[in-house]
């Protein structure tokens, strides 16, 4: 094409409409972008509003009903009796156990996730970065149940971990740990320690990814600037990296904390026979048929997460978002 040909376009300056229904629709949506937005948001809003919030509301309502202890029928009158039942010592025990486990799992996940996320952000490039994502995501692609049963085999008394420690002549270490009160037991697979290990393993990706995303947004020169101004690596971590990664840690902890609060499969397969909140809900609504108490149990994690988010907001965890 010669230079002159570039300036000989025969088309008019304003092109005619393409016509037809599709053309008219395109023009209409272009002129009224809010209409397009409404069309795109309507299905998710309906889903969230009716299916999600609606069922939550129904659940909340159930918790204010009570069960007739003789007939086992639900008495649909507004009462706080079920919440009174919730505050019995045995039930409070379940709540305390679950919250403690969730807090420890969250803490351990954060401690393990941070170095991995930091490495992925600052050092991994190209092929190594792909390997990082694969390594973090791969466990999420296999079935949750398969992973848990695999861990049961690993942690069992006849399992590979016992075998490995025996080969290393470190069995005394395992025995010493298992002889401790509360965290110990007959074997790791029937102890709180086992439950804890599997929880951390299963939820770890949900901590690594948000922390990595948060660190990714911290410009590398802030670390240099801190060091330039005289801060040792430890001071740089405390004063710059940690505060800026905090939104990611909080986001990750919302996952690890709430997922642990609600899970009922892991503690059932690996751990002691003592119940966690999820198991209590499962047994109350199933075998016991006490739907109001099950609903009241379900309200507990919701309230705890509410306070958790409120506290995180007050700590300024969302300021840097």
């Amino acid at each position: 094409m010669t230079i002159a040909a570039l300036n000989s376009n025969p088309a008019p300056a304003i092109l005619p409409g393409s016509g037809g229904l599709r053309g008219a629709l395109s023009d209409l949506l272009w002129r009224k972008p809010s209409l397009l937005l409404l069309l795109m948001l309507l299905p998710p809003i309906l889903w969230l509003g009716i299916v999600y919030i609606g069922s939550l509301f129904a659940l909340l309502l159930q918790s204010f009903f009570s069960i007739d202890e003789f007939s086992g029928l639900i008495n649909r009158e507004f009462t706080l009796k079920t919440y009174g039942d919730l505050l019995q010592a045995a039930n409070l025990d379940i709540i305390l156990r679950t919250v403690t486990m969730a807090a420890l799992v969250t803490l351990a996940s954060a401690v393990i996730a941070f170095p991995i996320a930091y490495y992925a952000t600052r050092y991994a490039r190209g092929r190594w970065k792909a390997l990082f994502y694969l390594g973090v995501m791969l466990p999420l692609w296999s079935s949750y149940l398969v992973k848990i049963y695999a861990w049961k085999l690993i942690l069992a008394k006849e399992g590979i971990l016992t075998w490995l420690l025996a080969k290393l002549h470190l069995l005394w270490l395992l025995d010493a740990w298992l002889s401790l009160p509360i965290v110990g037991g007959n074997s790791l697979s029937v102890s709180y320690t086992g439950t804890f290990i599997v929880f951390v393993y299963v939820w770890l990706p949900f901590m690594i990814l948000p922390v990595q995303a948060a660190l990714e947004r911290v410009p590398g020169n802030l670390v240099e600037a801190s060091s330039d101004l005289g801060a040792s690596p430890g001071q740089t971590f405390r004063n710059v990296l940690f505060p800026l990664a905090l939104p990611g840690i909080v986001a990750g902890s919302i996952f690890t904390f709430s997922l642990t609060l609600g899970d009922y499969i892991i503690p059932q397969i690996i751990g002691t026979s003592r119940l966690f909140i999820g198991q209590a809900v499962y047994s109350q609504q199933g075998t016991a048929g006490n739907i109001p108490l099950a609903a009241a149990f379900t309200v507990v994690p919701i309230v705890i997460m509410g306070f958790y988010l409120w506290g995180a907001k007050r700590m300024g965890a969302f300021d840097a978002l």
Binding site: A225, S226, D228, L229, Q235
Partner: protein
């Protein structure tokens, strides 16, 4: 007298790339030193070597007489004003400025007072409670400056600090930085790719190319007496003249340089002028820049605005004072 910063045969290689290649350099205490060069010429790596973010592959660096190899940045009494300021987004302006004192363990009232004073010094008093995100580019730049100066560094490093500012602001900041440096007497090392900035602010300029220093000297030295074609071309777009051309006027077979403002453009006439043809004229406000073709050699001349200009394509004769023809070191 010990140098503020001294490089002895310093190299920094990244794989096969020689970012800095056997550089020798001495920066005098209290001077305003500019490192000038195109991007990728090694000037920023030199700055990072002084700050301690990079370690030399070979050679030795000393800061006020003390060996600096292997010393981490946080143990160097040297502070940096970063190109994009690198202010901490989660801290307010006062805490940003007080950061260096905070990590050194200075008490809160004392460091806040020092930070307030530093903010006044950069003409931002009372801005302490704001977040960096609420400031304009020029204000952020001043905060970065205050944050570095509050530590009373032995050497202040500035990495293209004015690059992101608009022209007017940049000119103001140039004057301010210069007078601040005079008042404080701190050694400033300033990295820039803008030759005007380097010439107008620095006491001495080092011109970098391909990881090497081409020439070090006062702005006048660099501008009037470039030693190589690269310096002549990079600093102020001088006319670089080939040896054959230069020999006709000076008798020496060497590369020469001639400033565009030294060329007078006259009507075509016989005589010892250079016959040329006008290719184009660019109006620049106070001056007009003419592109000329002298028998295949492209030359530029700058004439005052309002001079009578020949038409494009018209033959002209160029004359110049032979004293203005500068001979460079290169012969071929």
């Amino acid at each position: 007298m010990t140098s503020a910063v001294s490089f002895q045969k310093v190299s920094r290689h990244f794989g096969s790339v020689r970012a800095v290649d056997t550089v020798d350099l001495d920066i005098v205490p209290g001077e305003f030193f500019a490192m000038l060069g195109p991007s990728g010429s090694g000037k920023t790596t030199c700055l990072r070597l002084i700050a301690g973010f990079e370690q030399p592959t070979a050679g030795s660096i000393s800061i006020f007489g003390e060996r600096a190899e292997g010393v981490p940045p946080y143990r160097r009494n040297v502070n940096t004003v970063f190109q994009d300021y690198a202010l901490f987004p989660h801290l307010d302006v006062l805490d940003n400025v007080a950061y260096g004192l905070m990590v050194k363990g200075v008490g809160k009232p004392e460091r806040r007072k020092a930070a307030e004073e530093a903010l006044s010094l950069v003409r931002l008093p009372g801005y302490g409670a704001r977040r960096p995100g609420q400031l304009s580019g020029g204000q952020r730049q001043r905060v970065a400056l205050a944050r570095a100066l509050v530590n009373q560094p032995k050497v202040l490093l500035l990495d293209e600090p004015l690059g992101a500012l608009d022209l007017k602001l940049r000119e103001n900041m140039q004057e301010e930085l210069k007078s601040l440096q005079k008042a404080l007497g701190i050694t400033f090392v300033f990295v820039t790719h803008d030759q005007g900035e380097a010439l107008s602010m620095a006491d001495r300029v080092a011109v970098f190319n391909d990881g090497k220093i081409m020439q070090v000297g006062t702005p006048e030295d660099i501008y009037q007496r470039p030693r190589t074609r690269f310096v002549a071309d990079f600093v102020g777009s001088s006319n670089v003249l080939p040896p054959d051309f230069v020999q006709r006027y000076s008798g020496q077979h060497r590369w020469g340089s001639l400033r565009p403002e030294s060329i007078r453009v006259g009507r075509a006439a016989k005589g010892d002028g250079v016959a040329a043809r006008l290719v184009s004229a660019n109006y620049l406000g106070a001056t007009t820049r003419l592109a000329l073709d002298a028998d295949g050699l492209r030359l530029h001349a700058i004439v005052p605005a309002g001079s009578k200009l020949p038409r494009e394509g018209e033959a002209v004769t160029l004359t110049f004072n032979r004293e203005h023809l500068h001979l460079m070191d290169e012969t071929a």
